[in-house]
C-alpha cells in the first residue's frame, strides 16, 4: 500500500483532531490539553520533516477528494508548499509553548486552543492546497478560525476589531471567490501548475484575465495587508500576544502573501503575467505598501501597533519579489516568507513578554527595559536588526537577493525602495533599541510580575530565544543544505525557470 | 380608500383575461367521463361521484379526512369555539331540537345509504349529522355523562382510522394502496363511508366544544 497520499491528510489531521478534542475538554483539564497540543505540534513537525525529505528525494505526496462532479479537493506537497508548511509547523510548536505559558490561569483556554489548532490546520491546508478551490476553502476557514481568537477577550474593543477584521476579510473572500469562479469558467481547471496553468490561453481572453488577476490579488491582498486593504491589521492587535504573533508571522498575513505567490507563479505563470502587464502594477503596489507601512510605523507609540505597521511593510517584500519577475528576485521573495516569519514572531513574543511581565505596552515605557529583561531584549534586538536588514541576521539575505534580482530584471528603482525602507525601518527601531539598552529604567514598572531569579517564566522566555536563534541561523548558515535560502533556490529552479 | 382606486382596474384586467381563457376552452370536452363510466362496473357503486371519491381518487379522500381532523386539532389547540348560551331553557328551540335531531340522524343515514347509487354520500350525511350535533349544542345539550373523552376521540378518529386500516390491509393484500377487490368493493366502500360519516358529523360538532367542556383537553 502506498502511504504517500495519506501523509498530507495526516498533517491536516495532526492539528485538526487535537483541536476538535480540545473543544470538548473541560477548562481545568490542563495537563491533557497541554499534552494534546504538544503531541499534535510535534507530530505535525515530524510529518512535515518526513515530507521535506521525501520531496527532496522526488516523492510526490498527493491526496484527492471529489468536491463537485468535476472539481476535486487536492492536497499536494511540492517544494513551494513545503516552504510554507515547514515554517508554520516550526512556529506552531514554538507558539504553542509560548501560549501555554502566556495564558496560564486565564479563562476560556479550551476554546482558545481549539481555535488555535484550527487556525494551524487552515494554514497547513493553505500551504498544501493543490488547486485554487482547495486554497479558497482553507483560506476562508482561516478567516473563520482566527475570528474567535481576535475576539478572545470578549470586550467591546475586541468586538469592534473582530468586526473590522471580518469586513475586510469576508469582502476579500468574496472577490477571491468571484475571481476563482470566473477563472474556472475560462479554463475548466484550477490545478496549481508549475509555470502557470494559463500558458497558451488565447489573445481574446486577455482583458478577462486581467480582471481576474485584479480580483484574485485584491482578495488575497486583504490578508497580505496590501495598501489600501491593510486597515484591519493594526486593529487586530487586541488579540492575545500569541495570536498576534501567529497572525503576523505565519497564519493570516502569510496566507495572503503565499496566495499571491501561487496565483502569480502557478496559476498565471510569471512570464505570462508579465506579458499581460499585470506584474508591474503589482510591484508598484508592493513598493507603496512597503514605504507606507514603514512611514506609519515611525509614528506609533504603542509597541504592538508599531510592529503591526512594520508587518504591513515587511510582508510586501514577498509580493515585491514575486512582481519583479526574475529568478533571483523570486529567491529573495520566497526566502523572505520564512525569514520574516522568524523575525516577526520573535518581536511579537518579546512584546508579549514585556506586556505580561512588566505591563509595558508603549514604546515610551521601554526605557532601560534591557536591564530588567536582558534575554528577551536580546532576542528583540536580533529581530529588529533583521527587520532593518543588517547582516548577519536573516533579513539581510532577503534584501540582498531582492536587490540583486531587481538589478537583474532591469528594475533599478526597486533598490531605492529597499534602501528607503531600510532607512525608515532603522529610524523606528534604532530609537527603541537605544532606549531599551541605554536609558535609565524607571523606578517601578507599570504592572510587574516576579518570577524568582529569572526575568520571566521559562515558557515565555524560551520561544523568543529559539526564534531569534533561528533568525540568526537562517542568516549565518544560509549556505547549508535545507536552509531556507537553498530551499527557495530549489523552488526557483524546480518550479519556475527550468523547462 | 384611495388605495382602492387603482385596485379595481388592477383586478379587472386579470379577471377579463381569466374570463377570456375560460371562454377559449373547447365547447365540448369529455374530461374523464368515459373513463369513469367504463370502470363503474368494477367500482362497487353506481354513483359516479361516489366512485371517484371513494375508489378512483380514494387517496384524496383519505387525506381529506386528515384535513378535517387537523382543523379540529387546530381549533382545539386554540382552546375551541364556545357555543354556550347563558340563557336558560328556550321552550320553542328545545322542542324543535327534540324533534329535529332524530329526523336529521335518519336523514343522514339515508344520505349515506343512497350515496352508493345517487347523489349523496359520506360528506353530505356527515354534514347533516354535524348539523344535528350543533343544534343540540345550541339548545344547551351537553355531552352525555357516560361519554368519556377517549370514546369521543375514537368517534372523531373513526373515519381516518378506517381509511388507514383499509390502506394497510390493501397494501398488504393487494400490494397497492386502496385497491379493493371488485367483488367486495361495494361493502368496503360502505364501511369507509359509514366511518367517515360518523367522523365528519362528530368533528363538526366537536369544533364547538370549548375548553371547559369535558370532551376536550382531558389530558393530565
Amino acid at each position: 500500500m502506498n502511504l504517500d497520499p495519506w501523509v498530507p491528510i495526516l498533517v491536516i489531521a495532526s492539528s485538526l483532531l487535537p483541536g476538535l478534542i480540545i473543544f470538548s475538554l473541560a477548562e481545568n483539564s490542563v495537563r491533557l490539553r497541554t499534552g494534546l497540543n504538544l503531541t499534535g505540534a510535534l507530530l505535525n513537525l515530524v510529518l512535515v520533516g518526513w515530507m521535506l525529505w521525501g520531496v527532496y528525494l522526488g516523492h510526490r505526496y498527493e491526496a484527492r477528494l471529489a468536491l463537485l462532479p468535476d472539481l476535486e479537493l487536492v492536497l499536494l506537497a511540492d517544494t513551494l508548499s513545503l516552504l510554507f508548511i515547514t515554517l508554520s509547523a516550526v512556529l506552531w510548536l514554538v507558539t504553542t509553548v509560548y501560549a501555554i505559558g502566556y495564558l496560564k490561569g486565564s479563562p476560556h483556554r479550551s476554546r482558545f486552543f481549539g481555535f488555535f489548532s484550527l487556525c494551524v490546520t487552515s494554514t497547513a491546508g493553505v500551504s498544501l492546497a493543490g488547486n485554487l478551490i482547495t486554497f479558497l476553502l482553507f483560506y476562508e476557514l482561516l478567516t473563520l478560525a482566527t475570528y474567535p481568537l481576535i475576539m478572545h477577550h470578549g470586550t467591546e474593543v475586541a468586538r469592534r476589531a473582530g468586526r473590522s477584521y471580518l469586513v475586510y476579510t469576508i469582502f476579500g473572500g468574496a472577490l477571491l471567490l468571484l475571481g476563482t469562479v470566473w477563472l474556472y469558467t475560462l479554463t475548466g481547471t484550477l490545478e496549481f501548475t508549475p509555470r502557470g496553468l494559463l500558458n497558451g490561453m488565447g489573445e481574446e481572453h486577455r482583458p478577462a484575465l486581467r480582471a481576474i488577476f485584479a480580483l484574485l490579488i485584491a482578495g488575497l491582498g486583504v490578508k497580505a495587508a496590501l495598501v489600501p486593504l491593510h486597515g484591519w491589521l493594526p486593529q487586530a492587535m487586541v488579540a492575545p500576544a500569541p495570536v498576534s504573533a501567529l497572525l503576523h508571522a505565519v497564519a493570516v498575513v502569510k496566507a495572503g502573501a503565499f496566495g499571491i505567490v501561487r496565483i502569480v507563479y502557478e496559476v498565471f505563470g510569471v512570464e505570462f503575467a508579465a506579458g499581460l502587464g499585470v506584474t508591474a502594477p503589482l510591484a508598484w503596489l508592493a513598493a507603496t505598501t512597503i514605504i507606507y507601512g514603514s512611514l506609519r510605523a515611525l509614528f506609533q507609540d504603542d509597541l504592538k501597533r508599531m510592529l503591526a505597521f512594520s508587518t504591513v511593510s515587511q510582508v510586501s517584500y514577498i509580493t515585491l519579489g514575486v512582481a519583479i519577475v526574475g529568478p533571483v528576485a523570486t529567491i529573495g521573495g520566497m526566502v523572505h516568507l520564512v525569514h520574516q516569519g522568524f523575525m516577526k514572531i520573535t518581536l511579537f513574543l518579546c512584546a508579549g513578554n514585556l506586556a505580561e511581565t512588566l505591563g509595558v505596552h508603549k514604546i515610551s515605557e521601554m526605557n532601560g527595559v534591557g536591564r530588567r529583561m536582558p534575554w528577551t531584549m536580546a532576542a528583540f534586538t536580533v529581530g529588529a536588526f533583521g527587520m532593518i536588514g543588517a547582516p548577519p541576521v536573516a533579513g539581510f539575505i532577503s534584501k540582498w537577493y531582492l536587490g540583486l534580482g531587481a538589478l537583474e530584471a532591469g528594475q533599478g528603482w526597486v533598490i531605492f525602495v529597499l534602501a528607503g525602507s531600510s532607512l525608515l525601518t532603522a529610524s523606528y527601531f534604532l530609537p527603541v533599541l537605544h532606549a531599551v539598552w541605554f536609558r535609565e529604567p524607571p523606578v517601578c514598572w507599570p504592572k510587574e510580575h516576579h518570577f524568582g531569579l529569572r526575568e520571566t517564566a521559562w515558557a515565555l522566555l524560551l520561544p523568543p530565544l529559539a526564534t531569534a536563534v533561528m533568525a540568526l541561523g537562517a542568516g549565518l548558515l544560509a549556505a547549508m543544505p535545507f536552509s531556507p535560502l537553498n530551499w527557495a533556490k530549489l523552488i526557483a529552479a524546480r518550479e519556475f525557470y527550468l523547462p | 380608500m384611495e388605495r382602492n382606486r387603482w385596485l379595481l382596474p388592477l383586478l379587472l384586467t386579470p379577471a377579463m383575461g381569466l374570463g377570456y381563457s375560460v371562454l377559449s376552452l373547447p365547447e365540448h370536452a369529455q374530461g374523464l367521463q368515459h373513463l369513469v363510466a367504463d370502470k363503474m362496473e368494477v367500482s362497487g357503486v353506481s354513483n359516479p361521484v361516489t366512485a371517484v371519491l371513494l375508489n378512483f381518487r380514494g387517496y384524496d379522500t383519505l387525506l381529506e379526512m386528515f384535513v378535517l381532523l387537523l382543523a379540529l386539532l387546530g381549533v382545539w389547540s386554540l382552546g375551541g369555539l364556545s357555543l354556550r348560551r347563558e340563557a336558560a331553557s328556550d321552550l320553542v328551540l328545545d322542542t324543535m331540537v327534540r324533534f329535529l335531531v332524530p329526523v336529521l340522524i335518519l336523514a343522514a343515514a339515508y344520505l349515506l345509504w343512497v350515496g352508493a347509487h345517487a347523489p349523496g354520500g359520506a360528506f353530505q350525511a356527515g354534514a347533516v349529522l354535524g348539523a344535528a350535533g350543533v343544534l343540540s349544542l345550541l339548545s344547551g345539550w351537553r355531552c352525555h355523562l357516560g361519554l368519556a373523552p377517549l370514546p369521543l376521540r375514537l368517534a372523531l378518529a373513526a373515519g381516518p382510522v378506517a381509511f388507514l386500516a383499509m390502506s394497510g390491509c390493501t397494501l398488504l393484500i393487494a400490494g397497492r394502496l386502496l385497491q379493493y377487490p371488485p367483488a367486495q368493493a361495494g361493502i368496503l366502500i360502505l364501511i369507509l363511508e359509514t366511518a367517515a360519516t360518523v367522523s365528519i358529523g362528530v368533528t363538526l360538532t366537536a369544533l364547538f366544544l370549548d375548553k371547559q367542556h369535558p370532551g376536550n383537553k382531558d389530558q393530565t
Binding site: - | 374523464l32 369513469v36 359516479p48 366512485a51 375551541g80
Partner: protein, 104 residues
Amino acid sequence: MNTAFFYALVGVGLFFLGLYALIVHAHLLRKILALNVMGCGVFLVLVALARRTGEAQPDAVPHAMVITGIVVAFSATALALTLMVKLTAATGRAELQSDERDPH
C-alpha cells in the same frame, strides 16, 4: 355560448369579487368570508365546466374534487374563525395591525 360557460364566468367573477373584498376590508370576518366567496367561485368553475360532456352525465371527477374542496374550505374556515375569535379576545380588535399590513 352555452350555460356551462355562463356559470364558469360567474365563477371567475366571484373569484375576483372575493379577492377585491379580501384586499379592501380590514375586518377579519369579512376577509374570511371573502376567501369563502373566492372558493365558491373556483368550485363553480370546476362544476360548470364539467357539464361540457354533451351528454346527460356530467364529468364526475370535478364534482368529486369540489366535494373535497368544500371540506378543505370548511376546515380552513373553522380554523380561521377560531383564530379570529382568539385574536379579538387578545387584542380587542378583529383586525390585523395596519402597520404590518401587506404592502400591496
